[in-house]
Symmetry: C2
Subunit: 156 residues, 2 copies
């Protein structure tokens, strides 16, 4: 590849969102896993992440149940682990979709979206939104956050 990880991340809406919103590597590893990458060397090359940081982030994701280790062995090589999304990991698709939409809108790179979300069967673009139980989509402005049963706000 002729491009650097820095250039790739500069074009990635999620990366730009996470520059504001948190520690970026974990969700970027998850993004690469959604693209089908599973191996330490691939994550490292695509993200330009230091090996010790990548090791720590993979450990966090495995402990958190987002990735699972699977041993593999290439011909003539020692056995290594690859990292595959668990069901919980695959369900982060909505989180990534929400981050991408926000970054595309509020932190655009000038190159256009780096990731698009499409209906697999039709190729039709999809967006992340709020949906009522009877299937009506409603805009975020019509949605309120309220304390739930696990909140201490209402009890305090």
């Amino acid at each position: 590849m002729s491009t650097t990880p820095r250039e790739r991340n500069a074009r990635c809406s999620i990366a730009r969102s996470l520059e504001v919103l948190g520690e970026k590597w974990t969700l970027l590893v998850v993004r690469e896993a959604f693209f089908g990458y599973t191996r330490f060397a691939d994550f490292r090359a695509r993200l330009g992440i230091a090996p010790d940081v990548l090791t720590a982030r993979l450990e966090t994701l495995v402990e958190g149940g987002v990735l699972e280790r699977r041993p593999y062995r290439d011909a003539g090589q020692r056995q290594r682990d690859e990292y595959v999304l668990t069901e919980a990991g695959r369900e982060l698709k909505t989180v990534l979709g929400a981050f991408t939409a926000w970054g595309d809108e509020h932190r655009p790179s000038g190159f256009g979206p780096s990731v698009r979300y499409v209906e697999e069967a039709t190729g039709e673009p999809v967006r992340v939104g709020f949906v009522t139980e009877d299937g009506r989509e409603i805009g975020p402005d019509a949605v309120a956050l309220v304390p739930g049963p696990g909140s201490l706000t209402s009890a305090a």
Copy 2:
């Protein structure tokens, strides 16, 4: 309040998600802003965050266009700044909604959800999902991530 920030965070799906997924404070500050808190002392008391860390996170959020400073002065006090969600900040509602759903499902606290999302007009629960351009909701398994125009993956 009789409860500690540690207890409050233990019940918060977003906090538990971010223990796996990134640096937690920024989105938690945003969550508190959605609940209507705007002041340094409120963020500090509700999150149990060290003052220097909170100062740094607020600075990040202001620079990133998520919060804006507004001066206020209580009677007999010096002028201080409060922190109010910008339009970009308010549009993080979908990101928080996606994180909450994931945390409720995959990192439950045992106390039930700490935040619920409801249609303001009806009180009806809403969920975050993928919606096609013609308004059909489709499950995440039917959605594919593909490189967009800003991606270097397709060009490499």
